[in-house]
Symmetry: C2
Subunit: 419 residues, 2 copies
């Protein structure tokens, strides 16, 4: 099996995995803990917004009909009958020749149909009994009408949307002190390989420190999962199988790093030959990370990433992140690719589509993608600076500078200066 | 003072605020808690990476000199003297006519200077005593040399950088189980205005629910601060002053929402006239949010945002987020603006620079900025979908469709389809 793997495209691999993923259960959380979660249901406006006619500025509420003759040099004088603070209920209905001093956000008094800002009035003193109106107002001018922003019953956020700061604002406005979201997926995480030592252990010859566990934990949390770190997997198949069976009971999905290749001790590769395993894919047309593997055991998905840090990271972004988004209920689990001009040639023929890490630049409104000049898949030094994968298609002679390439972003661009 | 405020540009306002901000104290945290924090010091590679010559693939370590006559149809037969697992130390030095089976990441045996992958060899069985080498290898081929990725002593991450998943990977590799970061700023947060009711309270006429507190808490946490929510501020100046003085003792910076305008009960505006207050700015050439205010009290900065949700959000992104980044030690506290083509005309003259919320689109490698068609600064419904501010300069007749505009992003673009 190991040397006769069936190659699938990234799309085929994703589709076979996606078909096995089930959205998590709903749960209710206080609004203060809802940031970053995915809404389980559509949410509706519980009232009109504004829910009363209100003034959008500090000024005077008037009857527009009373201002017909007003001009800068001929102010119309109106009697000030009330001062209305935001939060107060007006006590006096306006009649002909009257105005109410009104604050931003305050409720319009009955009878008023326009507001004039302080700066366009003439006041002898702050609390003067009269005000001079220095221009004519149209009926409805400077009035925020009940429901003009959002009418009661409008969908304000949809199931599958991630809750951000703006969502919190609109949910709070409509009184959602609790909100129904999809449960966070519990994501098991383990590494394979006897070459690994922990971060706080001294390096001895032949060993390396386990860097993927920290990276993957952070990526899992960032993608909305709860990482559960399990001990490193031994390379004896029977022991590994029983450890995995135990771990799977505690998690919704298991992510492993290492052991997927054709080496003698690649336990994840060995595992795919076992009868209880339902193999989804173990050879993907992509570089790095072609041995990236996915399988089902006991009804739960295992995504086995390459141990090589760069390939591990790519496998995470292509398969694990969207898988966690599906489990967490996101309506758009995968990022869209965009197109950008390659800032420098990558003139190497690729037997598989090559995913180059890089950055996005902007110049005069045109997008450029700049590879990290990192031929080594495992190059750790540039991982932290990467914002996107630049996809060099298979075959041909690579891509020339200035050619359009597909780009898959995995971080907000920092829009560094070109050069 | 309220009606005779001195107007400053956004740049001037930021510079006057920035001058008053002091970076926080250093602290040491375990690597597992370092995600999202800002490095206090440059970090160096504690050893070469790789720290020994190693094989980048599964195959056979050989002496290139032994492969000179190898060809696909005339394999050179070598004696297999050892199998070297990743993590093991080779026991046998290669001599003429010998090879070692070697796994990805394993240490090269003495005497070997090249590696050939399994697929280019002829093996009679997995553990056969001989291997056929089917092509000539150059000395050094398929060997990852000690230090070729990162040499000992190299700066692997710089003071002022935010720690992301990739940073964690490289820090773990070099044994940093603890890392020195800048302390998170403690950010006090309060709202003003008697019109506000809490999210779980019924709406009564004239009142609105406090939506800014939830939004600002989330934004503060996202920007690296620790939000401390204080009770709403009353509109009596003396009470407000004493509350603020008390709160300031607990925080590094205080953020308020509301009460900055020219209304009768705008307590933050009133406060700026007090003798102990060092006013930085209270009128900024921008729409929305021109009354956005910053002041120093007892040596600590207070940033007073507009109560209007849209203006509050803009004020946060322009002043609070970069201020928190300075306090948290970021070397690049402000986001760069980029340029994009306006996707639809905004043909309205602006007395101040207008910050339109919108989204970024990409078409054939060209960036487009699409406004949210949201003339009302307070429009809550579109806050959650906003990815950037499109800056329409003051004066003139706005901008036509297709014209280049400056854009300040505040979220990773979702690259929605145009249309």
């Amino acid at each position: 099996m190991r040397f006769s793997r069936q190659m699938v495209t990234v799309e085929e691999a994703w589709n076979s995995l996606k078909g096995r993923l089930t959205i998590g259960r709903e749960e209710e959380v206080p609004l203060g803990e809802a940031y970053g979660r995915i809404l389980a249901d559509d949410v509706h406006a519980t009232c009109d917004l504004p829910h009363f006619d209100r003034s959008p500025l500090d000024g005077f509420a008037v009857r527009a009909a009373d201002t017909v003759l007003a001009a800068p040099d001929q102010p119309v004088r109106l009697k000030v009958v009330e001062t209305i603070a935001a939060g107060a209920v007006p006590a006096v209905a306006l009649t002909e020749g009257c105005a109410s001093r009104i604050m931003t956000g305050a409720m319009m008094p009955a009878g008023a149909d326009a507001v004039i800002m302080f700066e366009q009035t003439e006041q002898l003193a702050a609390q003067a009994p009269e005000v001079g109106i220095r221009r004519q107002l149209r009926p409805g001018e400077n009035v925020s009408r009940r429901g003009e922003e959002i009418a009661q019953g409008t969908v304000i956020a949809r199931a599958g949307e991630k809750i951000n700061a703006g969502t919190l604002a609109v949910l709070a406005t409509f009184g959602y002190s609790r909100v129904t979201v999809v449960g966070k997926p519990r994501v098991g995480l383990l590494s394979t390989g006897i070459e690994l030592v922990d971060v706080d252990q001294p390096l001895i010859p032949g060993k390396i420190r386990n860097s993927n566990a920290f990276m993957l934990s952070a990526l899992i949390a960032e993608a909305g999962g709860v990482p559960l770190l399990f001990p490193n997997l031994p390379d004896e198949l029977a022991v590994a199988k029983s450890a995995i069976a135990k771990h799977l009971q505690q998690v919704d999905v298991l992510i492993t790093s290492g052991g997927v290749s054709v080496g003698d001790f690649d336990v994840m590769a060995e595992l795919t030959d076992e009868p209880e395993v339902d193999l989804l894919f173990n050879r993907v047309a992509m570089r790095p990370g072609s041995p990236t593997t996915a399988l089902m055991v006991a009804g739960k998905p295992i995504i086995a990433l390459s141990g090589n840090p760069g390939a591990c990271f790519l496998g995470f972004e292509l398969f694990v992140r969207p898988a966690l988004h599906v489990l967490a209920g996101a309506s758009e689990p995968r990022r869209r690719t965009i197109r950008a001009r390659l800032s420098i040639a990558y003139a190497k023929p690729c037997p598989y589509p090559r995913y180059l890490r890089g950055r996005l630049l902007e110049k005069d409104g045109v997008l450029y993608a700049q590879p990290d000049f990192n031929e080594k898949a495992g190059n750790l030094g540039t991982l932290k600076d990467s914002e996107c994968f630049i996809i060099i298609p298979a075959g041909g002679g690579g891509k020339q500078a200035g050619e359009l390439v597909e780009v898959l972003t995995h971080a907000a661009p920092s829009w560094r200066q070109e050069g």
